[in-house]
């Protein structure tokens, strides 16, 4: 087998991993190119294509160091990027120019590809969303207008017509682990990822203006409420959309008051309880 043909076939397979499936299905295609199919390990070539794409995504490590560390320790990196390389080739997708865009593209792929019933896949999905949220909020230069001054320590009295609005930027993620626990496990020797507890968390990544980012482990109620709050919808309507009646329940109001007290939301159209 002449070296020139061999190199052409290997390079084509790495550059266009979709070809590897074709060659796997019909080995005569390889024979036509002067390659004995018995001498070429197409599976290894597919993995190598994954390494090549993984290296092209090294720029993402700045924002996603723990995600990459997790992929290495869970022995997922080559598998993930091999599948991603094939998927991108099949779709004719060109890798984006910026790291933020590449992260976004990779996450779109992972969302469909990962099998969240597998513990390591679930950890990876949580970790990449965790780090991406932090990176996105860190990069955020938006100075959010502070609509309502919550510094008044008097309890706001909510009305049905009051309209809550998120103050600053929030990113919400439901996760099956605590990323802080995963981080700690990633630096233990040996890393026991299997011992990381699986438990549902509702995280709110919040940044108001240029303040530090806060990660709040909110309750389910607050999580879904924050998802619905759009700055236009009244408390009564929000209550209805969350499955309540037309009159906001005390529990719902209390949850909103708690969010307002933290400062995540401001509420239009409230009155203040009198100071004693």
């Amino acid at each position: 087998m002449n070296a020139r043909n061999v190199q052409a076939v290997i390079a084509a397979g790495v550059h266009h991993p979709v070809l590897l499936s074709k060659w796997q299905a019909d080995s005569t295609l390889l024979r036509h190119k002067g390659i004995d199919p018995e001498t070429i390990d197409l599976s290894a070539l597919r993995k190598f294509a994954g390494l090549s794409v993984k290296v092209r995504h090294n720029g993402l490590r700045l924002d996603l160091p723990l995600t990459f560390r997790l992929m290495t320790l869970a022995e997922l990196g080559i598998e993930v990027f091999s599948a991603y390389a094939t998927d991108c080739d099949a779709k004719g997708h060109h890798y984006a120019k910026t790291s933020a865009e590449r992260t976004c593209d990779l996450m779109s792929f992972l969302e469909k590809w990962l099998d969240l019933k597998q513990k390591n896949h679930s950890l990876l999905w949580d970790m990449i969303r965790h780090e991406e949220a932090l990176a996105r909020l860190t990069r955020s230069t938006e100075i959010a207008p502070v609509l309502v001054d919550n510094s008044d320590d008097r309890q706001p009295v909510l009305r049905s017509a009051s309209v809550p609005r998120v103050q600053g930027r929030v990113i919400l993620h439901r996760m099956q682990c605590d990323p802080a626990v995963v981080k700690s496990a990633l630096f233990q020797r040996p890393p026991r990822l299997d011992l990381i507890p699986e438990e549902t968390h509702y995280y709110c990544y919040w940044r108001k203006g240029e303040d530090d980012i806060q990660i709040l482990d909110v309750d389910e109620f607050g999580y879904y409420a924050l998802q619905l709050i759009d700055g236009l919808t009244s408390i009564a309507e929000l209550n209805r959309r969350m499955g309540g009646g037309s009159r906001p329940t005390q529990a719902f109001k209390a949850a909103l008051q708690q969010l307002a007290a933290i400062g995540i939301i401001g509420i239009h159209g409230i009155s203040r309880a009198r100071k004693k």
């Binding site: 002449n2 020139r4 061999v6 190199q7 390079a11 084509a12 190598f48 022995e75 080559i78």
Partner: protein, 282 residues
Amino acid sequence: MKTLDFSQDGTSLGLAYGPGILEFLDQYPGSADYIEMPFEQLRHNPSLASVQETAPVILHCASMSVAGFIPPSQETIGAISLETTRTQTPWIGEHLAFVSADGINEEADRDTAPTNLTYTICPQLSEEAVERVSMNLSTLRPQFSAPIILENSPQYFPIPGSTMGMADFVAMVSAQCDVDLLLDLSHFMITSMNTGVDSSKEIEKLPLERVVEIHLSGMNLQDGIVWDDHAVPAPPEMFGLLRQVVKRARPRALTMEYNWEALPHPVIVSHLERARSILAHA
């Protein structure tokens, strides 16, 4: 602009350019003698030339496709030549690999554009490939003001048509092309593990007296294959291999390639000290 002084005997220690390296050198001045800079990064981001205000630069390259059948463009050769002269690099470390190949068209028998990759690939390990390297070097060498030295590739899978192992191939290239070597110990160990040979025996087949520079980095096992990994520290076995190599070799430089992400500073310091100690006791 700083340049390397090789007037004294001994091995210079350097770091491959990557995230956090300048911060590291700022915090630990004098801990490394030079920075190894990939030509491709300089080309992509010319402002990186300012790195040479911090430390001398050795140029590394992955664009010549020395073992390939598609030569680099004159524009690329010209750009490498300019950087070679500008940086006053003592040599250009290039991969003994290919990065471009003939294109393949699945649909019709017509010429297609070459396949240009972003990551070098181990060539066929054969006499034919050695001949090709020899031809390519004879064209490339006169174009640069510094010598080219060749770096062994990592081998992840069998290359069809190969007639010899990596150590024999590198030895044959060095002898037939009269070329010095950049011995990447990680690549060598990875190749040995993936091809089921004993690295400590295989390495003795190399013309170690022709090793001018050594690379050290990490590796990891995934999906049944050992992979190159510049984001993790070199394992202890790598330092054992280094100890064996320097019994015969007198490299002029040793580069830690921890350049895929910023490693903790104490790890880099400890590995530099370890390498320095091994070199001192050689």
